[in-house]
C-alpha cells in the first residue's frame, strides 16, 4: 500500500462524515490524480474484507460490508429499517431519476406523495438538492448517504438494474 493510500485510509477512518476529494487533496498535499489513484487502491484493498469504500459523487466514506450487517447490527443494537411499498416506490423514483421534483414523482406514480416524501425525509433517505430552474422553482430531491448505507450500496452505480423496458420520456 502506498503511503498516500495509507493516509487517505486513516483520514477516512477517523472522519465522522464523508470526506470530499478536494479535502483529501488539501490535507495530503497530493495532486487530485494521485488522490484518485490512492482511492482506487483503497477500494481494491477493501475487496474481500469487512469494509467497503463508498462514494456519492466526489464524497468518500468507509463503510462496513453488507455481509457483516447482522453482526454489526447486533453490536449496535440497530433497528431494521422498514418502508411501506408506497414509500419504496417514491424512493425508487427519486433514486433512479435524481434529482427529481415532487411533481415529477407524483406524475409517475399517479398519486399524491406528500406522506411518503415526509417519511423518507424523516428517515434521511432523501434530501433537498436545490431547486429546478423552471416556473415555480420546485425543490429537487436526491438520495442521501444514509440511503446508500441502508441499502448496502457503495455508490449509486450499484443500484439494482431491473426490467429492460425502454424508458419513456420524462414529462416534468
Amino acid at each position: 500500500m502506498t503511503p498516500l493510500a495509507r493516509s487517505v485510509q486513516a483520514v477516512l477512518f477517523v472522519a465522522e462524515k464523508p470526506v470530499s476529494r478536494g479535502e483529501l487533496v488539501r490535507i495530503t498535499g497530493a495532486t487530485p490524480r494521485a488522490v484518485d489513484a490512492a482511492l482506487g487502491e483503497l477500494e481494491a484493498l477493501c475487496e474481500d474484507t469487512g469494509l467497503r469504500l463508498a462514494h456519492d459523487g466526489q464524497d468518500w466514506q468507509i463503510m462496513t460490508s453488507p455481509d457483516a450487517a447482522a453482526y454489526v447490527a447486533a453490536y449496535l443494537g440497530a433497528d431494521r429499517v422498514r418502508l411501506s411499498p408506497a414509500a419504496l416506490e417514491t424512493l425508487a423514483v427519486v433514486a433512479y431519476r435524481q434529482p427529481a421534483t415532487r411533481a415529477e414523482v407524483e406524475a409517475i406514480r399517479g398519486v399524491n406523495c406528500d406522506q411518503t416524501f415526509y417519511t423518507l425525509m424523516q428517515r434521511r433517505l432523501i434530501e433537498e438538492r436545490g431547486r429546478r430552474d423552471a416556473p415555480g422553482r420546485p425543490i429537487l430531491y436526491g438520495t442521501t448517504w444514509e440511503f446508500l448505507e441502508c441499502f448496502g450500496l457503495t455508490s449509486l452505480d450499484e443500484l439494482p438494474r431491473v426490467l429492460t423496458l425502454p424508458e419513456p420520456e420524462m414529462r416534468a
Binding site: 477517523v14 468507509i62 429499517v81 411499498p85 398519486v111 443500484l159 431491473v162 424508458e167 419513456p168
Partner: protein
C-alpha cells in the same frame, strides 16, 4: 395512501394487465375499461383527494375503448395529445419499471445487508469550533419536519365517501322521485356547500348508474344544471 391495496390508479391498472397475463406493450387498454370501472366500484372507499386521479384514468380508458369500437371517432382538435393510448401505455410502462425497482429495493431491505459508518470517537480532542447557525438550522429542520401533518391527520374519517354508498343513496332517491337535479344531489347538508370529495363521489356514482342504464342524464345547455331522470324499466 393505499386504497384497498391499490396505491393509485396506475397500480390498479397494472394489476389488471398482470391478471390478464398479457404483455403490457401489446395489451389493448380499452379492453380493460370495464374491469377497471368494476374494481373502482367495488372499493369500499376512495379518499377524496385521489378520486380525481382514478376518474382521470377511468375516463381515458373509456375514451380509448369508445375509439376502438367506433373507428370513425377521430380525436377532436380540442383533445390534447396526452389523451392517446400510447401516452397512457407509456406511463404504465414507466410505472411498471418503478414498481420493479421498488420491489428490488425492498428485497435488499429485507435481506438486511446494509452498511454502517463510523461515528468517530477514537480521538480525544476537546470539541471546538461548533457552528451555532448549523445548530439552529438543524433545529429549524426538525421543527419543520415535526410540524408536517401525519398520515392519520390528512383525511378526517368524516370526509370519506364511498361510491357504493352514494350510488345506493341516489338509487333510493330516484326511486322516490322520477327526476332530480344534479344541484340537489350535491347538497349533503342543507345550506352547506358540498365538499369537492362529495361532489366527485356523487358524479362517479351518477356515471356508474348511467352506465348500468338505471338513469338518464339531460343537460339543456353548456354548464347548465343536469337533470337526473329515472329510466323506465324495459
Amino acid at each position: 395512501m393505499a386504497v384497498d391495496g391499490f396505491e393509485g390508479p396506475l397500480d390498479l391498472l397494472l394489476e389488471l394487465v398482470e391478471e390478464k397475463k398479457v404483455d403490457i406493450l401489446t395489451v389493448r387498454l380499452g379492453e380493460l375499461a370495464d374491469g377497471y370501472l368494476a374494481r373502482v366500484r367495488a372499493l369500499d372507499q376512495l379518499p377524496a383527494d385521489e378520486v380525481s386521479s382514478f376518474l382521470a384514468v377511468a375516463s381515458r380508458l373509456v375514451l380509448i375503448k369508445a375509439r376502438s369500437l367506433l373507428p370513425a371517432l377521430e380525436p377532436s382538435a380540442v383533445e390534447d395529445e396526452s389523451e392517446t393510448e400510447a401516452d397512457l401505455r407509456a406511463r404504465l410502462v414507466e410505472y411498471a419499471a418503478v414498481k420493479g425497482r421498488a420491489t428490488a429495493l425492498g428485497d435488499r431491505l429485507r435481506l438486511g445487508e446494509r452498511a454502517f459508518h463510523r461515528e468517530g470517537g477514537t480521538v480525544e480532542l476537546p470539541p471546538r469550533g461548533g457552528d451555532t447557525s448549523a445548530l439552529a438550522a438543524a433545529w429549524t429542520k426538525v421543527l419543520t419536519l415535526a410540524a408536517r401533518p401525519r398520515d392519520e391527520e390528512l383525511v378526517a374519517p368524516g370526509d370519506r365517501y364511498s361510491v357504493e354508498q352514494r350510488t345506493a343513496e341516489i338509487e333510493t332517491l330516484i326511486a322516490q322521485h322520477e327526476a332530480l337535479s344534479f344541484a340537489t344531489l350535491l347538497v349533503r347538508v342543507p345550506g352547506e356547500r358540498a365538499t369537492l370529495g362529495f361532489a366527485i363521489v356523487t358524479f362517479i356514482a351518477l356515471l356508474d348508474l348511467y352506465r348500468r342504464a338505471a338513469i338518464d342524464l339531460e343537460q339543456d345547455e353548456l354548464f347548465g344544471d343536469i337533470t337526473v331522470r329515472r329510466k323506465a324499466r324495459a
